[in-house]
Symmetry: C2
Subunit: 331 residues, 2 copies
């Protein structure tokens, strides 16, 4: 294993130092491993929290800032944060208007966020939760009952952050979140495994002439393996299962062509071109897009496609100003 780290045990603690030094939008609670917005609390605003295992950067810490998250709870690499971290974050960011928890559907995350929400309620904080379970690849998975939560999380955090910023109340923010979660679908693929620092070797072996279709963001098994193919064929294998699962015609679509961490941008642009051609042929119009590394899987090579079937409200919220390390516009 060759990685730019000091030791497998210190990856998260050391990375948090770099995040704090580089990103003027945030402050880091190193004891609880929570990343907060740097500016003072906006009184009366619904607060938005997410969190999960590390190794998916810039998600979630890179999405803390004006117009997006108020706090991100950082677990160790590919490990859920604890209920204590989530409770600390929840009580810290609450302005009295309540807190929305954005939870990706993995068993550990779901259980821990549930426990934190109960404890926060006992402490007098109103908490609502939205569960993201958008991965059409598999029904159940290594770490999940039901679909895995992947790329829609990024788009949801942006849109819901804007709703909170403009002063919507907790019920309304929750409704926006649920609309995004209900209308987002993702599908991923891998050319290589990732290597978890504490394991020291690749999570799985993938022969030099094969790829895995339907991979999860922790290297969980996908749908099947098959011989390496060209970008056009791969794009079709991402687009088809998504369109099979939800009808995206007749609505503005927000698309994300996401890199898994080890794939260069030139390939992501190329893949995006192929995806656009397929969607146009299917009569689907992309109104907004992201191309790049937004929800990664350490050093895995590969990509994923996320489509959110939007409406005028979601597009308006998407376009609202955001100022985070990972997404920034309008400010």
């Amino acid at each position: 294993m060759k990685k730019l780290i000091n030791s497998a045990d210190d990856v998260l603690a050391d990375a948090l130092k770099g995040i704090e030094a580089s990103d003027g939008n945030v402050r880091v609670d190193h004891t609880n491993r929570v990343i907060y917005r740097a500016e003072a609390k906006d009184s009366g605003k619904v607060a938005i929290i997410s969190g999960g295992g590390s190794g998916h950067e810039p998600m979630h810490g890179g999405f803390v800032g004006l117009g997006m998250l108020d706090a991100a709870c950082c677990g160790q690499v590919f490990t859920s944060p604890t209920p204590d971290q989530m409770l600390e974050a929840t009580t810290t960011v609450d302005t009295g208007a309540g807190v929305l928890h954005i939870v990706k559907n993995y068993t550990g995350d779901v259980m821990n966020f549930e426990m934190a929400a109960e404890m926060a309620a006992d402490a007098g904080v109103q908490v609502e939760t939205v569960l993201v379970a958008d991965d059409v690849a598999v029904q159940d998975s290594l770490y999940t009952a039901g679909r895995r939560g992947v790329g829609t999380t990024v788009l949801l955090e942006k849109i819901v952050g804007a709703a909170a910023e403009e002063g919507q109340d907790l019920a309304s923010v929750k409704a926006v979140a649920q609309k995004v979660a209900d209308n987002g679908r993702s599908m991923g693929m891998a050319l290589t495994s990732c290597t978890v620092p504490s394991a020291g070797k690749p999570t799985f072996d993938l022969p030099a002439d094969e790829m895995e279709i339907g991979i999860g963001i922790h290297g969980e098994p996908g749908r099947h393996r098959e011989p390496m193919a060209d970008a056009k064929s791969i794009a079709k294998q991402l687009v088809d299962p998504i369109l099979h699962d939800l009808d995206f015609t007749g609505a503005p679509v927000i698309a994300m062509l996401n890199g898994m961490g080890g794939t260069p941008l030139i390939e992501l642009y190329l893949m995006y071109g192929e995806v656009v051609a397929l969607l146009e042929a299917a009569g689907i119009k992309i109104e907004r897009n992201l191309v790049g590394n937004y929800i990664t899987s350490l050093d895995m090579a590969g990509c994923s496609l996320t489509l959110v079937k939007a409406d005028d409200e979601l597009i308006r919220l998407w376009d609202a100003p955001v100022k985070t390390a990972g997404l920034r516009w309008g400010l």
Copy 2:
């Protein structure tokens, strides 16, 4: 070789389709392989052009837009664009106020930009050129007489773009460019080789327990190879040669901790934390920073550090609004 491409011959042409589809700031001339700003020419503004081999994304095409480049000439992967491309771009963007060519110091780029500048002058366009040669690793290299041009190019394109946007004339824009070029230094390292699509195999072999210090962005040899080390030691091997080359104390510094394409963001943040600690110990204050993939080398794992010794004028230009796929703030 496993890559998200259709064929080695079509990588650039296909990627340009995706860039055009994703980035509303640009339009693409597919015949000449030039990426232009989408909006109409700003009459009287000095135009800024750069270009080079592809495979370093988001540089340069991802830096076309308001406050940065007016055009980027795209060569094939790791291959200089031709004088014809550069001439076409130069005459297209000129508003009568002249054009600055930003050239990285590689023999092919230098020769072709010189030829294009002469042809443009014959056509009545005033052209000035700034050469970036900031890599402290080696004096001469595989594709270079003199130092290679690397990370300072990114910071220079941002700063000079702002100078042009605020209406500075060609001589003044050139002077700003030269100040950045004179005060920027970089040093890189690699954990793995990159694989050029047309070659189909890694450019070099690097054993599983070794790294290369002083690597170039095309996989050109660096200073030496040595056993893999921890992030602290690697950071020192990047910082020391830069500080040995130029005194950065007493000035505000703009820093970039750049990924080579195959290294995940969590490792780049971690490395940035180590670099900040070393610079603080040396009495050097980072005023602005970038952490991420900005000048890459296809799928190479590794990173580079760039420091620009700035002053109030350069910091002011750095902070000016920019709206490109790769850098965006203030708008």
